[in-house]
Amino acid sequence: MAVLVDERTRLAVAGITGREGSFHTLNNRSYGTNVVGGVTPGKGGQDVEGIPVFDSWLQAAEEVQPNTAMIFVPPRFAADSILEAAAAGVELVIAITEGIPAHDELRVYNTLERDHPGTRLIGPNCPGILSPGKANVGIIPASFFSEGNVGVVSRSGTLTYQIGNEIAQAGFGCSSIVGIGGDPVPGSSFVDVLELFQADDQTELMVLSGEIGGSAEEEAADYISEHVSKPVVAYIAGFTAPAGKQMGHAGAIVSGTSGTAAAKAEALEAKGVRVGRTPTQVAEIAVEILGGAGAAITPA
């Protein structure tokens, strides 16, 4: 089944007329994702290689009924675009944009919770979601992943590709790869995505890739011990990160003594989650649990 994006996805893209936006939208379409439209204020009526562009999310919703929104607009316009998509009734918003102010993210998160509880936000500052063989929404390079039974959820893009590729080389595929992003106030947390993987028939094992900063991994550990029966393998990046220094991602910072990689790994291990110390080790543990030989589902 996979989670969040699949054959039923009807994608519209804010920022489709931009360089990055059009490039990745067309990439997603050539993968097989059903792209139904784009939104760029002032460019309604145009098209991007046959994909109709609308002035607003409301218009796009009326004309082409997207159920998934991808946000590619610059940081200062991103918060309003997310909320506009939600107000137009789009159920899933995937925000790729990096550099959105934390206070805007706070406003978006709390506004969605209060006014649009039916909309789920993934990101911002994330690589998107890939369900191999079904749909790709975002910038994840699909060629490394095949269809299979491993669900991956991660705060980092390239690290996900690294881990995913090692799993693929061992002969395993993925149900979905979900990037939740590296910002301080993500729309969805590890817990939200683990819940989806637990309920997903196709997923038999989950890989959680976390990093320093915040307490999302600790919360995931508690959730796993109570609600997740499928095996989970974890990785945490940033053991060598000094306190008080932001390591690339806005959310990747050890504040005082909280948010360290060691504390996160300990919290997960205390709840019985196996934590690999290198990306390679994560793949090895996953393969060991899944039973050695590759069991990737060959796409029909």
Partner: protein, 385 residues
């Protein structure tokens, strides 16, 4: 982006929070001049972005000109745990009846602002939270509504502020919340928030962190960072828009993607090495960008070997290889490089590198292998490649 005390106090004053009159200076003569203007007695305070200034001798009371001269001369240039004091804040000394604590921060877990208040100020607040948690009031604010007057009074009352200053503390909390929201701060902390004998509530210190992503809304705050005390390589990286953090080791690191770079640092450390930096080259792969990155890494004299760890997604490994070859032609580094190219067009990239036969560049296939090689090279032993 962390602000110095005096910069934080300037923001506080802008939002109506009471602070003592003071002046920021960089020379002994200016310190004497400032002390005369704000009026004796004064406090001479080192402006550095690190705690424990007082214990290190960076905060001194001065009753007259000769004392200001003496303290200013001692403190200017002082090294407080790696932070050189270049600026002093000369402030009129306050009489203190009580020391409280107040802060507003982003609670990432609750996804709401958290206001904290305690009458146990002037000490490490983490210690208060641990030993006497009942003395620390923690109040989540609905960020869509903001902090109401009633809430501020309730926090002050609940925290057992002296009855006659509950209103004053509520004013301070409200102003602090305004600083937090209107300046796009991620942290606004006052420790201590003092009550004077004539019952005025005043910020005696200021710790403010601003969100760098929101600076476009606050052009007036852009110059507030402690750029003089910043590491010179970090400052250069920032100007070039490169994510670089200097570390203590001798192995230079470059990778693409923040998570992968953090992971690379860890894997190098596990192999027994010590990373000299974090550098995320991002998605770009053109020669100019790679040249800039290599120059930044090599600007650190401690670097004895460099590890390039690229997992090409959208970034194509052959483009990275071309960039590296072009960069090497110009820079001609004297330290060995280990280059691991994996992902999109990795074979083509490796072939290009092999054909270019760059001196002292060692290809690696996996991240773990690359880490072991670079650690051996940094230690001065050879590598069988």
């Amino acid at each position: 982006m962390d602000l110095l005390e005096y910069q934080g106090k300037q923001l506080f004053a802008r939002h109506g929070l009471a602070v003592s009159q003071g002046k920021a200076v960089t020379t002994v003569e200016d310190a004497v001049d400032a002390a005369g203007k704000v009026g004796y007695p004064v406090v001479v305070k080192a402006q550095v972005l690190i705690g424990g200034r007082g214990k290190a001798g960076g905060v001194k009371l001065a009753d007259d000109e000769s004392q200001v001269r003496e303290h200013a001369a001692n403190i200017l240039g002082m090294d407080i745990r790696g932070h050189i004091v270049r600026t002093l804040w000369i402030e009129h000394a306050s009489d203190i009846a009580s020391e409280y604590y107040a802060s507003v921060l982003l609670d990432r877990s609750a996804k709401q602002p958290l206001v904290m208040f305690s009458v146990e100020g002037g000490v490490d607040i983490e210690e208060v939270a641990e030993k006497t948690p009942e003395k620390l009031v923690r109040h989540h604010v609905d960020s869509l509504k903001g902090l109401s007057r009633e809430e501020a009074v309730q926090i002050a009352t609940e925290g057992k502020a002296d009855a006659d200053v509950v209103e004053g503390v509520a004013d301070a909390l409200t102003a602090l919340y305004d600083v937090w929201t209107q300046e796009d701060a991620t942290l606004a902390e006052i420790n201590p928030l003092i009550v004077t004998p004539d019952r005025e509530v005043k910020a005696l210190d200021a710790k403010v962190s601003l969100d760098g992503n929101a600076l476009y809304r606050h052009p007036e705050n852009a110059s507030l960072s402690d750029s003089e005390n910043e590491d010179p390589i970090e400052r250069r990286a920032k100007e070039q828009g490169v994510q670089y953090v200097k570390l203590d080791g001798d192995i230079g690191i470059l990778g693409n993607g923040a998570g992968l770079v953090m992971s690379t640092l860890d894997v190098v450390a596990q192999a027994g090495g010590a990373p000299a930096n974090f550098l995320d080259a991002g998605g770009g792969s053109d020669a100019e960008k790679i040249k800039q990155a290599v120059e930044l890494i090599l600007a650190n004299d401690s670097v004895k070997a460099v590890l390039f760890n690229i997992f090409g997604g959208i970034t194509r490994c052959d483009e990275v290889a071309k960039g590296l070859i072009a960069a090497f032609a110009e820079i001609r580094p004297s330290v060995p490089f280990v280059v691991r190219l994996d992902g999109t067009n990795d074979e083509a990239g490796r072939t290009l590198l092999a054909e270019a036969a760059l001196p002292n560049v060692h290809p690696a296939r996996t991240m773990n292998e690359a880490a072991e090689m670079v650690v051996a090279l940094a230690a001065g032993s050879g590598v069988a490649s």
